[in-house]
């Protein structure tokens, strides 16, 4: 009771995951000052990992506890399974990212801050997945974006890293400004910020054809599409992914996409059901554009990180197909797809990181030669990830694609299925190209010895992370039933 103001009841449980990560970040920050330099890396990494584990646990518990979704804390956020599901993926990606980061050669003096920012970015994402007003949406977006801006640029020795950071900042600022203005217009049209209320107002006052509303919707879609790095809002992606430190890239590629797509789903379905006619087709178009751009550009890449960046664009396209389906099946498809996708994405970037550390130079298809024979675990994992990206069986990627196409067909969009199929066929070329580079060069072309000299560092943490990704990727193929059930329940929290 301050000035006769009654503060709303706070559901701490609903905020558990973000809070855990926030705390983690704080502890890491303390470590940066308190722990002696020598132990800083290990302590910070351990704390951060623990934090992500805690976040996973919290999100899982939340998933179990919130079968019926409802707004909490003055309806600023939504406590439901959708958010919890996405939070699990985000936190999981964060955990894996920690494993990948551990041996990354970065400025020793900021290693603790690095993990702090990683945790905070994770916190922001975990929070954002639950956002249910335009305001919290914008804030959450900025929360993790700003953390990522810093993370991208954290390796200040590298010009590429700084450039990536600045580009991401500028384009990101531009994008979120668009989102903001869009929100403003929507707010202007309806006078509401909360998603459900927007939908209600639109319904009550028959605003579904309101110019201001649809203009705002367009800008909002643009802002979200930017975060999901879907064409034509994708152009920052290759540069930033290539320039940023590889572990950061891995984390971004998995978590950012997860959050952005889940949020797109949430916003569009909860706030703009009446405009479905508009945004479904738009998303379909954006999906096609992403598929085309991502795959075609990836065909000619030689830098593996860049190639993977383009592939992530094309996958954004695939997942947007699921959203565009605007059905329970579509939501299920999206949520399922995210699981193997995140695993494959982090895993592949992790393998790239490993090679990078062997060679001390950017990884290209050429200097990947022979890697598969030299590092069996990483090699086989990379093969599985590539096949998974390509949607071949025995990987979760296959089931994901299957569900996406099923959703599109179910929606009656056979043409979209055909587009997706064609895109997949094209994508084979570069995914198989990686395998070719790793295994099929004649032995004299192999560069087995790392340029730095000595035998490559066998990093337990990274290999564990890769193994984890491998397990998830393959497991998602065999254990479809439980995962799809989870996805179905999560999708239930949206009203289709």
């Amino acid at each position: 009771m301050i000035l006769g103001v009654v503060t709303p009841p706070i559901d701490w449980f609903a905020l558990a995951a973000p809070l855990a990560l926030l705390a983690t970040g704080g502890v890491c920050l303390l470590a940066a000052v308190l722990v002696p330099k020598g132990d800083r890396r290990v302590v910070a990494a351990f704390v951060c990992a623990a934090g992500f584990v805690g976040a996973i646990a919290a999100a899982a518990a939340l998933y179990a506890q919130s079968s019926a979704g409802h707004g909490v804390i003055a309806d600023a956020i939504q406590r439901d399974r959708l958010g919890a599901f996405a939070s699990v993926i985000v936190a999981g990606s964060g955990l894996l990212a920690v494993g990948v980061s551990y041996r990354e050669r970065m400025a020793d003096d900021h290693v603790a801050e690095y993990y702090a920012l990683l945790a905070w970015a994770g916190a922001g994402m975990a929070f954002l997945t639950t956002a249910s007003t335009l305001l919290t949406l914008f804030l959450g977006l900025e929360w993790f974006s700003i953390s990522l801006y810093i993370l991208c640029a954290i390796d200040r020795e590298l010009v590429g890293s700084l450039e990536a950071g600045l580009k991401y900042l500028i384009v990101g600022g531009f994008g979120s400004a668009m989102l903001l203005f869009g929100s403003a217009l929507v707010y202007g049209a309806t006078g509401r910020l909360e998603f459900h209320e927007i939908a209600q107002v639109v319904q009550q006052q028959h605003l579904s054809h309101d110019a201001l509303l649809v203009a705002g919707l367009a800008l909002v879609i643009g802002g979200l599409g930017f975060k999901a790095s879907a064409a034509p809002f994708h152009m920052w992606t290759p540069d930033v992914y290539e320039g940023a430190p590889t572990p950061v890239t891995a984390f971004m590629s998995a978590a950012t996409k997860t959050v952005a797509l889940v949020l797109t789903l949430r916003v569009l379905v909860t706030a703009f059901p009446q405009e479905a006619r508009l945004w479904t087709y738009t998303l379909a178009a954006i999906a096609c554009a992403s598929l085309a751009v991502g795959n075609l550009a990836a065909l000619v890449q030689t830098n593996v990180k860049r190639m993977l960046a383009y592939s992530s664009i094309s996958h954004a396209g695939f997942m947007l197909i699921a959203i565009a389906a605007n059905s329970a099946l579509g939501a299920r498809a999206l949520l399922f797809y995210l699981i193997p996708y995140s695993a494959m994405s982090i895993g592949s970037f992790a393998v790239v990181a490993a090679r990078e550390r062997e060679l001390n130079r950017p990884v290209t298809l050429d200097n990947l030669a022979g890697f598969g024979w030299e590092r069996p675990l990483l090699g086989i994992s990379m093969v599985v990830f590539m096949l998974g990206f390509a949607g071949l069986p025995l990987t979760g990627g296959f089931v994901g694609k299957f569900y996406v196409f099923a959703a599109a067909y179910d929606r009656g969009w056979t043409w979209l299925v055909i587009v997706g199929v064609a895109a997949t066929a094209v994508s084979l070329y570069y995914y198989l190209g990686v395998i070719r580079a790793m295994y099929m060069r004649s032995s004299e072309e192999l560069q087995l010895a790392p340029v730095a000299g000595g035998s490559p560092a066998r990093e337990l943490s990274l290999q564990t992370a890769v193994a984890g990704c491998l397990a998830v990727t393959v497991g998602a193929f065999f254990a479809v039933q439980p995962l799809i059930d989870a996805a179905r329940h999560a999708a239930r929290s949206l009203s289709f």
Binding site: R332, W373, P393, F405, A406, A425, R436, Y439, Q481, I484
Partner: protein, 507 residues
């Protein structure tokens, strides 16, 4: 009693073998022998299966079913039909032979190699026993992965391009099939082949056809074939042309014919025409091909055309003949490729111009190659002849023109096969053939002779397969009456499916 586990075991045993080869710390020799052991065990398992299989009754047997994910009604459902058990037999035998050959020839990185070989075995067997569309697709693609490595890593100089072309070309086809599978499964509310009825959608049908036609391959979709067969190592080429192509024919049989009577009726003519074109085209190009592998490769293009003719004749003669011919051609082309490998080892080239006179002082090689060759050119009395005869007799009912084309192809086959035989064996020794070049070694014999022996046994008794492919066919030789027309036979086949469906629902 429930014998479904047997089918699953047939899939899992090789996979287990692959894991064993990969994970156990074995010395190279031990690796090879372990792999061979598993391959032979697989053959034994198949023999057990065929012993338990009751050819008398139609429909699915030795089947096992387990839900995979329920919301779209996808399940792990495997089982045998009469014809699929023969194709599985072909698979296990040929892959055992191939493994044996590799073991003898010696491959670098043996653990990876044999592991992939065994994995391939499991995948192909899976294709032939899968009774759920999505499962079928899974195995169908899983088949491709080991092949990609086997050709790409252990292949010849041009392997990279060859593999890329092969994999992407075939994948492009099978992805269309995926689209069709989704469409079919969702419209029927199930992906189970035995439960879903027939369908009339042209587009879905064409999607399936695309996959099968590329894989078979059907003229003119064979761009991947020559390079893939030339660049891969002999045993892999044997598997490719001997077994993998049969997966496509199986698809025609199990899915295209059984599920799409309407579209098949509509598209039969174009398909048959294409197949006939492929038959002649392949034969002519085989006649022109400058090297051993080329001849065999194009001849198998022709053979697949023939098999397609038989299948799309859609009558008892055609279908039985097609199944028989699948097994025949599988064994024949496998044997030929393995022999070609042996010859290339000796002459260091497959150029027909550089070969010749190998019969002199190499009686065993001469005898084996001659035997295989004459069986390959379907000399009357050979099992290949039996298959060809039945196919053409069947397609004759559909349209006499196709049979005439087939007859022409018989002559062409004689031409290119005799060309091959005499180019290798006869006349003066070629420049690549040294006096020192040995006759077939016992190991090679051990690999090849079983295949040839099977061929000879089949030649004595082709009915062993034709009687036992479709579980129908009362064996009384009935005089006079004309056998059911193709349409009737086709219905009869589709009806078999429906009765199966009723059985399923009854349970």
């Amino acid at each position: 009693m429930d014998t479904g586990w047997l089918t699953t075991a047939l899939i899992l045993l090789p996979v287990a073998g692959a894991l064993a080869v990969w994970l156990l710390p074995l010395r190279p020799f031990a690796v090879g022998s372990t792999a061979l052991l598993f391959a032979l065990a697989e053959v034994a398992l198949w023999i057990d299966a065929i012993a338990r299989f009751d050819f008398g009754k139609p429909g699915l047997q030795l089947d096992q079913r387990q839900s995979w994910f329920s919301d779209l009604h996808v399940s792990y459902h495997v089982g045998f039909y009469g014809f699929s058990i023969w194709l599985v037999g072909l698979t296990v035998v040929v892959l055992a032979a191939a493994t044996g050959y590799a073991f003898w020839a010696g491959r670098e990185r043996p653990r990876a190699y044999y592991g992939l070989m065994l994995l391939l075995t499991g995948a192909i067997v899976g294709v032939f026993v899968a009774q759920d569309l999505l499962l079928f697709y899974v195995f169908w693609e899983a088949m491709l992965v080991p092949l990609y490595f086997l050709v790409g890593v252990w292949g010849g100089a041009g392997r990279l391009r060859a593999t890329l072309l092969f994999v992407i070309y075939t994948m492009a086809g099978s992805l269309l099939m995926l689209a069709s599978i989704i469409a079919l499964g969702l419209t029927h509310g199930t992906f189970d082949l035995t439960v879903m009825g027939t369908d009339d959608s042209t587009w879905i049908f064409l999607g399936f056809m695309a996959a099968f036609a590329v894989k078979a391959p059907l003229f003119p979709l064979h761009a991947w074939l020559p390079s893939a067969y030339r660049e891969s190592s002999p045993e892999v080429a044997a598997v490719l042309s001997g077994v993998v192509s049969k997966a496509a024919a199986y698809g025609f049989l199990r899915i295209a014919i059984a599920k799409f009577p309407g579209p098949v009726a509509d598209f039969r003519t174009p398909i048959l025409v294409l197949a006939a074109c492929g038959l002649i085209y392949g034969s002519l190009l085989a006649f022109r091909a400058p090297d051993l592998r080329g001849v065999i490769a194009y001849s198998s293009l022709a053979q697949m055309g023939l098999i397609t003719l038989g299948i799309f004749a859609v009558n008892d003669l055609g279908l039985n003949g097609a199944v028989l011919q699948m097994v025949n051609h599988g064994l024949i082309s496998a044997t030929l490729f393995l022999l070609a490998g042996g010859i290339e080892r000796r002459a260091a080239t497959g150029e027909l111009g550089a070969l010749g006179g190998m019969a002199g002082g190499r009686p065993i090689l001469a005898t084996v190659l001659m035997t295989t060759g004459v069986i390959a050119l379907a000399v009357p009395g050979s099992t290949a002849f039996a298959g060809e005869f039945a196919i053409l007799a069947g397609v004759f009912r559909t349209g006499w023109g196709y049979a005439v084309v087939g007859a022409v192809a018989m002559v062409l086959a004689a031409m290119y096969m005799l060309r091959l035989i005499s180019a290798v064996l006869h006349q003066a020794p070629g420049r690549a053939v040294s006096e020192a070049a040995l006759d077939l070694r016992p190991a090679e014999l051990g690999v090849v002779v079983p295949l040839v022996a099977i061929l000879l046994v089949l030649s004595a008794w082709p009915a062993a397969i034709t009687e036992r492919s479709f579980g129908s066919a009362p064996q009384i030789p009935h005089k006079g009456s004309v056998v059911p027309s193709s349409a009737a036979a086709q219905l009869q086949f589709a009806l078999k499916e429906l009765e199966q469906k009723r059985k399923q629902q009854g349970q």
